[in-house]
């Protein structure tokens, strides 16, 4: 049986300017359904801007964002939030919310206007919450307060919040920043296991090499390369984009790209 997969999100000739500065220029890229894509590039390359444009949070001045054929900015905020979930780099609150209440915020676009007593939520609501909590391994944290959670636990709770939106697309802005190594790997392994079309801005090329199916590389707001990680993440690309001399090999265990750093390329960095 063949089911037509919905097309993943796509940017079409997207340009973004803010206060006279051009952040993205004519970016056209489509993200494949069900794959995890790493969004790479040095600081200021436009990773977060593209991610926000894809999330419906920053309307591009030129071009369109398409989601399975629909113009994303033609949807209401509510409808959009039922299809696309966005996780900020570092979310924080001073309010004494429990993890369960934080995750519950992800149900906002699915609920009606009037409050319902917490005991009266539907069976579907419970199932969605339980499933998201299990997928992100936060079941034991649900009644803890936000301020008592560690950085890694907070990211998992935010991921669960994104999952209960029941999105087609998951957009993650540097989700592993400020996490210990073990939490970084654990978080990305969890994301891989979800099977949801995911685009994640990543700083760390080695993490991208180890966990992404595809990578998209930006430089100065322009698309440099997009494709399967083994094809795109080459020493030539790294030299061009980061100004760094690197040797890319096959990892002996999983045969993914493995990067060895050789040093700076002086000319590349001077520009």
């Amino acid at each position: 049986m063949i089911t037509a997969n919905p097309a993943g999100p796509a940017a079409e000739n997207v340009g973004v300017r803010v206060d006279g500065a051009t952040l993205l220029t004519d970016v056209t890229v489509g993200f494949a359904h069900g794959r995890v894509t790493g969004l790479l590039g040095p600081n200021g390359a436009g990773k977060t801007t593209l991610l926000r444009a894809l999330a419906g949070l920053r309307r591009p001045q030129t071009g369109r964002i398409l989601l399975d054929g629909d113009d994303l900015y033609g949807l209401t905020a509510r409808r959009r939030a039922r299809r696309v979930a966005f996780m900020e780099q570092q979310a924080d609150t001073a309010l004494p919310l429990t993890a369960r209440q934080v995750i519950d915020l992800g149900r906002t676009p699915h609920r009606g206007r009037w409050p319902v007593l917490p005991g009266l939520a539907t069976a579907h609501e419970h199932a969605v919450l339980a499933e998201a909590a299990a997928a992100t391994d936060v079941g034991a944290l649900l009644d803890r307060t936000w301020s008592s959670l560690s950085g890694g636990e907070r990211q998992r709770v935010q991921l669960a919040r994104a999952l209960v939106q029941e999105p087609e697309v998951l957009l993650l802005d540097e989700p592993t920043n400020h996490l210990d190594l073990r939490y970084q790997l654990g978080f990305l392994e969890t994301v891989r296991g979800l099977g949801i079309t995911t685009v994640a801005a990543l700083h760390d090329l080695e993490l991208a090499a180890a966990y992404c199916d595809d990578v998209t590389v930006l430089l100065d707001g322009r698309l440099v390369a997009h494709g399967p990680v083994a094809e795109v993440l080459t020493s030539a690309t790294i030299a061009h984009v980061y100004g760094v001399d690197a040797t890319v090999e096959r990892h002996p265990l999983h045969h993914r790209p493995h990067i060895r750093w050789n040093g700076l390329l002086s000319e590349g960095f001077q520009s």
């Binding site: 409808r79 979310a91 915020l105 992800g106 409050p115 917490p118 005991g119 339980a130 919040r161």
Partner: protein, 361 residues
């Protein structure tokens, strides 16, 4: 995960909310009844009950005209006016604290109190030549117009050059407009007014529900109920602001529209209240914090609880205001702060103690 205890925990959460609402409702009822009984003339509870029952047509035949006048014509509208004002101020304070992400936000944030004072002072000082009754009628109208004009200027300043209403710019615009109105008020009172005018302005500024009669009371109750229901309809959207604007937007809240609508609603409600009862401080600032400490930050519970607690606080404060000194009433704003501030300080103290005792696992 323990699948069995979680529905139970949810049910416990729901019933805790119901218990909190019930306790607050009982507290409000008790203060209202006390408010009908206490005053310059003490009315025993059974007389209060007879008067109210007779008026509601359920019995209570043995009522003197004097008791009826004191309880039904004078005290009940005053008590209802106090309850409505306290409820409205507390709900507006809670909403504005959430929308601006500022713990110090209160209903007067947008220059409303100072704008209302401009209107009131203009009438009190410059309207002295007019007959007394005309002044009494014109005061709420002028205060209302002043409050709305101030809010319009603040929102225009804060929203200039963009359709958004950034929280920090809104707060700063409120301060600027408030200061300007304050300068006008001081100038008119000190330069153009006499000693009586200064006293009249100060009394108005401290707030009072003493003059509330039935028509005003009905109006205030309608404003408070409609305002609370309207804001309760936005409870979910308000919850989504917990992690800031971007987070709210990414779960589908139309941030700009929500903020404009709710700030406009809060401004309108506050202007209606201030115009009739003056600037009653403290309730709108602190009641939401007290409720959050006890019931948590979710608006579906925070807003109705703030309304009930704010109503009880103001009714209770008004009882104290008119019964402490034998022949004189003290301004109710003095009492709200005098009663509320120590309680709030105690709650903060207790919370800080709980934190340092190691609640963090």
């Amino acid at each position: 995960m323990t699948a069995t205890d979680r529905p139970a925990a949810r049910l416990a959460g729901a019933s805790r909310a119901a218990v909190a609402l019930a306790v607050a409702a009982v507290l409000l009822s008790a203060t209202v009844l006390l408010g009908l009984a206490v005053g310059s003339v003490h009315e025993p509870p059974h007389v209060v009950a007879e008067v109210v029952l007779r008026r509601l047509g359920i019995g209570g035949s043995d009522v003197t005209p004097l008791d009826d006048r004191i309880i039904w014509q004078l005290r009940l509208p005053r008590v209802l006016g106090a309850a409505a004002t306290g409820a409205g101020l507390a709900v507006c304070g809670a909403v504005l604290q959430t929308l601006t992400g500022n713990d110090l936000a209160d209903p007067y944030l947008l220059g409303i109190s100072n704008g209302a004072a401009v209107g009131a002072v203009t009438v009190i000082v410059l309207g002295v030549g007019v007959s007394g009754t005309a002044v009494i009628g014109a005061l709420p109208a002028a205060a209302f117009v002043g409050a709305l004009l101030a809010v319009l200027v603040v929102l225009t300043l804060a929203g200039a050059h963009s359709r958004t209403l950034p929280a920090s710019r809104t707060v700063l615009a409120g301060i600027a407009v408030g200061q300007l109105c304050g300068a006008y008020t001081s100038f008119v009172v000190l330069v153009l007014g006499d000693r009586n005018a200064a006293r009249g302005v100060m009394e108005w500024t401290l707030g009072s529900v003493a003059g509330v009669r039935w028509n005003t009371a009905v109006f205030l109750v309608a404003v408070a109920v409609l305002g609370t229901v309207a804001m309760l309809a936005a409870a979910r959207d308000l919850d989504a602001f917990a992690f800031g604007e971007t987070a709210a937007r990414s779960v589908g809240v139309h941030v700009e529209r929500t903020r404009w609508a709710l700030i406009a609603a809060a401004a309108l409600v506050t202007a209606c209240l201030v115009a009739n009862t003056g600037v009653i401080g403290f309730v709108g600032l602190v009641v939401p914090h007290v409720v959050r400490l006890v019931c948590g930050p979710r608006h579906a519970l925070l807003l109705p609880m703030s309304a009930l607690v704010g109503a009880s606080l103001l009714v209770g404060s008004d009882i104290v205001a008119r019964s402490v000194l034998p022949d004189q009433e003290i301004p109710v704003g003095v009492v709200t702060a005098g009663l509320g501030a120590p309680f709030f300080a105690w709650l903060l103290w207790r919370q800080a103690a709980g934190r340092s005792a190691g609640s963090r696992p």
